[in-house]
Symmetry: C2
Subunit: 191 residues, 2 copies
């Protein structure tokens, strides 16, 4: 009988990422992951539905977190400061300090078509939560849709930039730069 393993989830994640990187996602089995982590498959399935979900663990919390942040923000708060606040919270609680691990996950996801499609669904889940949050706040649908699409774009473009840079700069600084780049680029008047 295995005793309670307080760090089981982290050990399984670490073992899975190592194996996916070493031998590929498709070639890795759940028993290999649990053997590397020194845990049972039963423990694995208490934490993850399958090996794919190790790469997307915790993602299901994000839409609820976004909905709560948007519902609790002051009614007078403008959309862009609200997006900035939300991205700051996401950056600091879910990304900062995990750069190497997220970079490894990105490489694994890029290597496999079904993982890339799964990752698109993740972006769509965030977008739908932001859209619903703005509609709840009384923003008209067209603007709410734009705000939601651009929130996801800001996050994704900044994430790749953060992962690709050599220096380990704070993720939120890069998000602010991306937003400024967007604002500068699109404030140019049409001729």
């Amino acid at each position: 009988m295995s005793r309670w393993q307080p760090d089981a989830r982290q050990r399984l994640e670490r073992a899975a990422l190592e194996l996916f990187t070493e031998q590929g996602f498709a070639a890795t089995t759940v028993p290999e992951i649990t053997a590397r982590a020194g845990l049972t498959t039963r423990t694995f399935f208490r934490h993850f539905a399958d090996k794919r979900e190790v790469l997307f663990a915790g993602e299901e919390e994000v839409p609820g977190l976004v909905a709560r942040m948007m519902a609790e923000a002051p009614a007078a708060m403008e959309p862009v400061p609200l997006i900035v606040d939300g991205l700051k919270t996401l950056a600091e609680t879910r990304f900062e300090g995990r750069r190497q691990e997220i970079r490894e996950k990105r490489e694994i996801i890029r290597s496999d078509e079904s993982l890339r499609e799964r990752n698109l669904r993740k972006g769509a889940g965030l977008r739908d939560a932001v859209l619903a949050g703005f509609v709840e706040r009384g923003v008209e649908t067209l603007t709410a849709t734009l705000l939601a699409e651009i929130s996801v774009t800001l996050l994704n473009v900044s994430l790749n930039e953060w992962l690709d840079q050599d220096a380990d700069r704070p993720f939120f600084d890069i998000i602010l730069e991306t937003l400024e780049s967007l604002q500068t680029t699109f404030s140019i008047r049409r001729d």
Copy 2:
């Protein structure tokens, strides 16, 4: 021996859309489409790789068209006016006058998971072409990526608005409104 049918492609598209709408995409076969169009399956496969591609016909021309427009635009032209010009050309040559047909296609695509994924690939193809075009024009990668993502967002958000409206307003007018909404929303300074 069937004689040359100058309107074969259009008749096949029309028959396929009718059948997909009446009985569903999955339930429709190529022989049913050709029977409805009064043409042979051999003629069908001269025009389309399979029944799915009827819904995405002509899409493969778009990246090349975008690349050419971007390469031929004056070097001094700023990114946003270039995007506006490109969207105007796309709107007028590929969308205007086809609202009912595009609306039918959208309904069919929404009804089927594999079609929705195929449609995401279509958006990615356009984005990659715009990104490559801006990099060619000397725009740095972060800005080029933003411009490409936002071009696709502008097109998709405006397209849904154009298809959903009751009045039959020009597609390009709605694209301009969406861009203005984006510019107004994001020109608000952060606190």
